[in-house]
């Protein structure tokens, strides 16, 4: 399910979360798998995966702790799906 808009304090945070999850938690589907279905995970599922990776409370919501972690300088390599 999409993350409810009221979970965001502002548009900036909403964009931050989307960019972050697309950059580091979008499982890059393997186009070589014939007939593979688009299994794009939902934002909430990617958020839960990110929260689990960083040892945060797994809520599936962009809480302040999660946003704070997303704002930290980091490596550009995805955390999943290599």
């Amino acid at each position: 399910l999409p993350v409810h808009p009221e979970n965001y304090n502002n548009e900036e945070d909403e964009k931050l979360v989307e960019d972050y999850l697309n950059k580091f938690y979008a499982v890059e589907p393997d186009p070589n798998q014939l007939g593979w279905k688009i299994n794009a995970e939902s934002t909430a599922e990617k958020l839960q995966k990110m929260q689990k990776f960083f040892g945060l409370k797994v809520t599936g919501k962009p809480d302040s702790e999660t946003l704070e972690m997303m704002k930290k300088p980091r490596c550009g390599v995805p955390d999943v799906g290599l």
């Binding site: 580091f24 980091r74 490596c75 550009g76 390599v77």
Partner: protein, 368 residues
């Protein structure tokens, strides 16, 4: 740790520094890159050789936003600092650094040696680790370059692909450097009592000192508290048989071997103003139930009973602790006296008479 197999099928790898950042001298960049590769060759059979033209296995370049034909883009200052590709042809093994960042040899900006060591982990086939003490943890964390940056998790990961150095005594991850207990240059990050013991913390290690029977044990912090980061900055034992550890604007409360749930918390929850970004040292006076937090040349006093910061603080440290003039690196209480540490010095202070009793060697507790 995570790996992207199969890794390189050879142990002799070449690297080439394609261009430089204007933030650092070429020599400093060369040194940072060489040192970062040495981190990995120390714990594997890998050998890195520099070439100055042509295609190397590991091509190292600085760029901004969309750079060359790289499929990944940078995002301006902060955010993404660098990226690298797992072993292979073409981009495989290459490492790119965002020129919109401030690259340095120290703790300001982003330390090129530390970021490069992380990226070269990717170039060898490691992916990110969710162990917060690992170099391969995704977020940037500054540790003193004198500290060997690989954690046991990093070493296990890279050795799962390449094995350890051929002449290493055993296949377990080589524990690269343990601090020398009797090193006369030793300084401490933080010190706390723990019931009848005194715990000295430095980098990734701690010493457990039993003053009564002059026994000293050196351990990894992660042996006791796997969730604690290294390089703790302050620590103290409160009146409830708990220890509090501080790093940056966060603190953890430990009861026994357990980090209490809900931690780390922000130090502002203790009553510090937003401007306080870190604590240098802390000690709870068991006779009064008051904890003194030292920040720069000042200190705050916290009442453990009412769980609140006392009014009228901060005060200048030297006004209430005559003779303790410099920033406090670490402090603890033993048999009623406070022991203050700064750099190479240690002072024994009587909080009742408010007098320095004597100055002693900093490693006097280790029976060297």
């Amino acid at each position: 740790y995570g790996v992207t197999l199969p890794g390189w099928k050879k142990t002799k790898l070449t690297y080439r520094i394609v261009n430089y950042t204007p933030d650092m001298s070429k020599e400093d960049v060369d040194n940072a890159i060489q040192k970062a590769l040495k981190v990995w060759s120390t714990v594997t059979p890998l050998i890195f050789t520099r070439i100055h033209e042509g295609i190397a296995d590991i091509m190292i370049a600085f760029g901004t936003k969309a750079h060359g034909h790289c499929p990944r883009y940078f995002d301006g200052p902060l955010g993404v600092l660098a990226h690298a590709f797992p072993p292979g042809n073409g981009f495989g093994g290459d490492a790119h650094f965002d020129e919109d960042e401030d690259w340095t040899t120290g703790s300001a900006g982003f330390n090129l040696f530390l970021v490069a060591a992380h990226e070269f982990g990717h170039a060898l086939g490691l992916s990110h680790s969710n162990d917060q003490r690992a170099l391969m943890f995704p977020n940037y964390a500054y540790v003193s370059p004198s500290e060997f940056p690989l954690s046991p998790d990093d070493i296990s990961g890279v050795q799962s692909i390449y094995g350890s150095q051929p002449n290493a005594p055993d296949k377990r991850p080589a524990t690269p450097t343990s601090p020398k207990t009797c090193d006369s240059q030793m300084s401490f990050d933080a010190i706390t009592t723990l019931r009848r013991e005194v715990i000295f913390l430095k980098g990734r290690h701690l010493w457990r000192v039993y003053p009564d029977n002059s026994q000293v044990e050196l351990e990894l912090i992660s042996t006791f508290w796997p969730n604690l980061p290294s390089s703790i900055q302050a620590a103290y034992e409160n009146t409830k048989d708990q220890i509090l550890f501080f790093k940056g604007n966060k603190f953890w409360v430990i009861s026994g071997y357990q980090v209490l749930p809900g931690y780390p918390k922000n130090i502002s929850t203790l009553g510090f103003p937003k401007g306080v970004k870190k604590i240098d040292a802390a000690v709870c006076n068991k006779n009064t139930g008051k904890t003194d937090f030292f920040v720069g040349d000042k200190y705050w006093r916290y009442d453990e009973n009412s769980q609140s910061m006392e009014t009228g603080y901060p005060r200048r440290t030297v006004d209430d602790f005559p003779g303790i003039r410099q920033k406090v690196d670490a402090v603890f209480q033993q048999k009623g006296f406070f022991y203050f540490f700064h750099g190479s010095k240690q002072w024994e202070f009587d909080p009742t008479t408010k007098k320095v009793i004597r100055e002693i060697k900093r490693n006097s507790w280790f029976n060297c």
